[in-house]
Symmetry: C2
Subunit: 571 residues, 2 copies
């Protein structure tokens, strides 16, 4: 193959494809240059004056390296990898570092394999990071457990690129034996390990880094970013749906710029479809005053360097012909996207078929619960005062507020208040576990709502003011094999959207799913859910016991700061 | 081991060593920070406030990452790897990318093995690049031939890090089958390939890069540097003895800075001892106005990134405790040098033993010639006009000048002119080959001088104005097993310095070798060698058929630009 590249580069043979009259971004020097870009066999072979078998005039457009998403959970799109690709590739993303943390928590290793195999038939380079925290904490019931030994075994499989975000930072810092085994297994195979250590500083951060952890996408404070970069981490600039830290880009200097990379982490299909993927991050960054060339470099070369992706992230001879042709560096509208030298999207539309889905049995039918009754949701308190969960702006960090509630016949009655009953129903192993709690400030009234996406163990999470509606919601989720549900006590209506893949993702096309989801979400808002919240997806973070402060697990109410269970009674 | 790092980082256990009150360079952010640097088991484990079993107060000093030489031929020091380390480690260099091109051209694979094994007992990380051009051209006689198949086989051996400088750029550009085999063998094993493509531009450069070649240390022109960096190459800033391009640093911008790395390529023992190694490059760069932090970053992080040296080139938790403690960022005097956390040099002196040398038989006794007679140096021309080699400032590029010479009895007589006879005597395979030519402007008179270092095939190269002296010089080199020789026709004196390892390097200590070499060099200058030339080392480049313009090989006079032999007769 080298001969073909070299012969075309030297002009002795015609290139397969030439982008004529390109203005292109040279990420190495941070300038826009001009030339014809010649492509052979999936690689750029030359920039200069070239002729090709096919030629595409790109005058007045700007050619950029294909974007690389440094950290993404495909599951958060609620789409299959094929359909996910159909949304992000036309936006200019050609490579992702995918951490199938969610589906692996539901389906174990089969979840990883599914994401890897389903990605094979789409023109998107998907590097799989083996989830490091399955389950995320030992306190809850997940669908699978991957211990150190499992991790070591799976890391040997060819399709695993690295080790996913190490959220169990206390485990690292305190040298938990199984954590150490996972880290050492990754180092033994030279794998990069992603980090997750919000607001960890000083000697504690040093200890975390001594696990050999390379990145952090949870940074938000300037001093945190500075310290993490100074200690060798790459810091993500994140453009998720719920979690955003585009402001991190304000901490970039010409000296530290190479240590910033872009990612989306968790991004919904609706945002992907309506706003975009990394193209939207770039648009927003540039609108915020970030130098467009620096921004694109974070999304390309920097990310490739961080993850050791050789010959990716730049436009140069011998580098991958993963290219996005945009209108300009303000709007970043992708006119053409090339993956390995092939035109795979045009004017925002994919040119590849995603109708064939890889759908193995072992990621389907994952909601295993007994049929629930209204009395399963009875919540008996010792007195009137109880701890209620609240939600902070941003939708991931929760608070704890002492509230006063009424009880009737030994069961909390929240009707007509701004407080809801909350329940987490274990759905993997039929344990019958139901964690119960209270939530203040969601706004929802007159029924129940629920979802089988509940980070990170993905049990059923429910909110409601009516035991019967809560039971109906849970039973509906069982019936449809996972998804989102909304029960209106007054009308008796039960609406739902099915997420058949692990209870997390839909095997349908993005458009249908999005239309139905949107309708359901609007219905939830019409039942009072506050507009500043994501109607269903904000629910999904209320079980996430690695993010402060108060969370609800299938096993009970959990104080993240004390890292232990806590009593709901506050008197 | 991770537990030990983490426990010390967290402050639960004392570190093995702490550099207290350090001002240290954070290469990620380009700033000097302060803190105690804690070290355990060869790694930095933390920066902050630490206690150690051993503590060293470094107040008023500055701690830098150990320097990395991005491209060096140890052989050019004329020292064994052990002795070479004893000179450069105390200067602050802790890692080198070594290309044993010279000794491999003499001894084949055994030369590579020798450098690798001899380096094992010194506190210097030596990454071996397998020479890609053995011989450098097919036109000359070298001691060994490594073809594509050989290259493929040797690359599989664990000690080989990458593929050395690909000087045969016409071979790459023209898809020479054996060249392609070498390149593909390197790519198949994910090896980095060093480049060497002076003044190659445009589509020709594209073709060269399509070989998958990553670096260039031959750059000198701004437009050349810009183009090479824009096309994905790392560009070396070189501080050799004969070859210098420190001026390349003037082309650094904040955007392209990460693509510059430092190297020495070829540097004599005398320079290493008297002026220094990369410390001297840094001193010179800073004196020339280069930002000291940028300069050190080129010598550390950038080089580590270029060569994929994980956790090297920065001061951060989990990174190698390869550290140099300097007085300041102007003088770069190394007060302490740590390799893998161990103090290995202090105040410019090595603290390790280099007296035990690894000296395998297969790199000794490498001068294989028959005894030569004066008449072997007879040079018969067709007329008076002939091509004479000249030397350009810098000492590597040669020119061609048409000169008029006298002949007596069918033999050129150069006595009393500024022209010398030149001879290249094949010394590996007893072929009896003697290439003959003329040289103008060396200044030497009254005898002969010679050396067994003659890039890249390392035959015997001789200059002189007296056939008897030329024969004596060659015979003396045979007798001593390689080295440098100076014959004074008037006094009959024959002085020499022995280079017993491959005829290139001495197994002696640096001090003794340097003293004797200096005396010999001074004697050569006293016999007229121009002071702007390196008395003997300038000779060593007159056979180098990959650098313009006129060169002399054992097989005859060679026009590099035409890449073919040329007739000495100019009428």
């Amino acid at each position: 193959m080298l001969e073909k590249y070299i012969s075309a580069a030297a002009g002795r043979e015609k290139a397969e494809l030439v982008l004529k009259n390109a203005a292109y971004l040279d990420v190495f020097c941070g300038v826009i240059r001009k030339g014809d870009i010649a492509v052979v066999g999936g690689k750029i072979v030359g920039i200069g004056s070239y002729e090709g078998e096919k030629e595409l005039d790109v005058s007045h457009l700007t050619v950029l390296p294909g974007y690389i998403d440094g950290h993404v959970h495909i599951e958060s799109s609620q789409l299959s990898p094929e359909e996910f690709a159909s949304l992000i590739v036309p936006r200019g993303t050609t490579t992702i570092i995918a951490d199938p943390h969610e589906i692996t928590n539901v389906c174990g290793k089969a979840g990883c394999e599914y994401i890897a195999k389903a990605s094979e038939n789409v023109p998107l380079d998907v590097k799989i990071q083996l989830p490091s925290c399955v389950p995320a904490t030992p306190f809850e019931t997940s669908g699978a457990v991957l211990n150190g030994k499992d991790t070591e075994a799976i890391l040997k499989e060819g399709y695993i690129y690295g080790l996913g975000e190490f959220m169990n930072y206390p485990g690292v810092i305190n040298c938990d034996a199984d954590v150490i085994k996972k880290l050492e297994a990754a180092h033994a195979r030279g794998k990069i390990i992603d980090g997750h250590a919000p607001a960890v500083y000083g000697e504690t951060l040093n200890a975390y880094l001594c696990g050999g952890i390379s990145t952090d996408h949870e940074c938000v404070y300037k001093e945190e970013i500075d310290e993490k970069i100074s200690k060798g981490m790459y810091v993500h600039i994140r453009h998720g749906s719920s979690t955003q830290n585009l402001g991190n880009a304000k901490c970039m200097t010409s000296a530290n710029m190479r240590r910033f990379i872009l990612c989306t982490d968790d991004r919904h299909a609706a945002d992907l479809k309506e706003k975009g993927h990394l193209d939207d991050a770039l648009r927003r960054l540039v609108a915020d005053g970030v130098d467009p060339i620096a921004a694109v470099t974070c999304a390309t070369l920097n990310c490739a360097e961080c993850y050791g992706l050789k010959y990716k992230g730049a436009i140069a001879p011998f580098w991958a012909a993963d290219l996005v042709v945009v209108d300009n560096l303000k709007n970043f509208n992708a006119k053409y996207v090339f993956k390995d030298g092939k035109l795979v999207a045009k004017d925002g539309k994919p040119l590849f078929d995603t109708s064939k889905r890889y759908l193995p049995e072992n990621v389907l039918n994952t909601v295993h619960v007994k049929t629930l009754k209204p009395e399963d949701f009875t919540l008996t308190l010792k007195g009137k005062k109880a701890k209620a969960m609240t939600i902070e702006p941003g939708g991931v960090v929760t608070g704890c507020e002492i509230v006063e509630v009424q009880s009737v016949n030994g069961d909390v009655d929240v009707k007509g208040t701004d407080i809801l009953k909350m329940a987490v129903v274990e759905r993997h192993k039929m344990t019958g576990n139901i964690g119960k709690g209270l939530f203040k400030g969601y706004g929802f009234k007159g029924g129940a709502m629920g979802i089988t996406i509940a980070h990170d163990s993905h049990n059923i999470i429910l909110l409601g003011d009516d035991n019967a509606a809560l039971a109906t919601a849970a039973n509906k989720l069982k019936e449809i094999g996972g998804g989102m549900v909304l029960v209106n006590s007054a009308t008796g209506e039960v609406d739902s959207v099915t997420l058949d893949i692990g209870g997390l993702m839909s095997s349908r096309d993005a458009e249908g799913l999005q239309r139905d989801s949107k309708a359901l979400i609007e219905k939830a808002y019409s039942m009072g859910v506050k507009r500043e919240l994501e109607a269903f997806m904000s629910l999904a973070f209320l079980s996430l016991a690695v993010i402060p402060k108060l969370k609800l697990l299938d096993t009970g109410l959990f104080d993240v700061e004390k890292f232990s269970f806590t009593d709901i009674n506050a008197e």
